[in-house]
Symmetry: C2
Subunit: 200 residues, 2 copies
């Protein structure tokens, strides 16, 4: 794990993007998703998920890579840890599943950095909080967001049913309607970092 | 400077509160404040301000100490650095000016921890952003927020024209109307910390 207050960012044009087989969502509705969460909770206890904040730059401003499903919903690459799985290893596994080519020789060098936010789901509902609310002794999910330091050149393979977008911080900021409470406050969580914009 | 992912918090009842002479605001209106900022910018360049996030607990939930002016406006203790002043020293000076008794023997042990957010003011206007917006080469203010680790017992002396409030994270969260964009997203910025609630 890399901890640094400085994040090197490279232009979007440094990276190469291809496609791979679709990764379908496990659930087709929010109700299905919450029902599956409940079943998994009975079996395995609190769900722990990890997501990566991958940064690039355009016009000297940091941009975040988001996966778009359909025409509206955006999410960070990541997912649920297996029971007992280490957070960093689990995040690398999920990043490869979402963004890497299948060939082992084409895996990006995922440098997982600092945890920048932790969100809690108190009930089997969509709402999450950046703290475990008082009187909640059995939260249903804990979601951790990590900065991922990208190398200067990488090859990403994006599942055919998803789009990979580079979204500027100024677009995310104060835009809870479009990006939801977790993604729209990433600019605040990254504000303490110094972005070292590298122009190769 | 203390950097730790663990923040020890003590009950509000651990602390003793007294009063001291009023600390009047330097400006009586937003327009006055922005005009003074402009004059200072001409003389000294970009304003750097530092503010402290002081944490206590009540009912096992973290609370932040805010200074209330009049009946509505709340702010974090802190203020502007002198030209060339070190951030940590400047924050300690400002915390003492706002919250400590005048006697040197009654100064709290201000343990300044991690910087959790940096806000930028691009123009002589009230709006600030958690990044320096693109195309802004001469920001007018940079404001840094630091976690301040409190000892188990302290004596605070609050200026008579101000009230010191302990506000729970759940009250700040998603409450931009009441607390503004900077203070209302402190819960997100603190989410990555583990609060060690100590019950002496």
């Amino acid at each position: 794990m890399v901890t640094s207050q400085v994040v090197n960012t490279y232009p979007l044009s440094s990276y190469t993007f291809g496609t791979k087989e679709p990764k379908m969502e496990k659930d087709t509705s929010v109700a299905d998703r919450l029902a599956r969460m409940k079943v998994n909770y009975m079996k395995e206890g609190m769900r722990t998920s990890v997501e990566g904040i991958l940064l690039v730059q355009e016009h000297n401003h940091p941009h975040i890579l988001l996966l778009q499903i359909g025409n509206t919903f955006c999410k960070l690459p990541g997912g649920r840890l297996k029971p007992g799985e280490n957070e960093i290893d689990g995040l690398k596994r999920k990043l490869s599943s979402k963004l890497a080519a299948n060939s082992p020789s084409l895996q990006p060098d995922w440098q997982v950095g600092e945890c920048v936010a932790i969100w809690w789901r108190p009930n089997f509902e969509t709402i999450m909080y950046p703290y475990c609310p008082p009187h909640i002794t059995k939260p249903k999910e804990c979601k951790k967001l990590f900065v991922v330091h990208l190398s200067e050149r990488e090859y990403f393979a994006v599942p055919k049913n998803l789009k990979l977008l580079a979204v500027p911080l100024f677009e995310l900021y104060d835009n809870v309607q479009r990006y939801g409470p977790v993604i729209s406050t990433i600019p605040q969580q990254l504000s303490r970092f110094q972005f070292n914009m590298i122009h190769p």
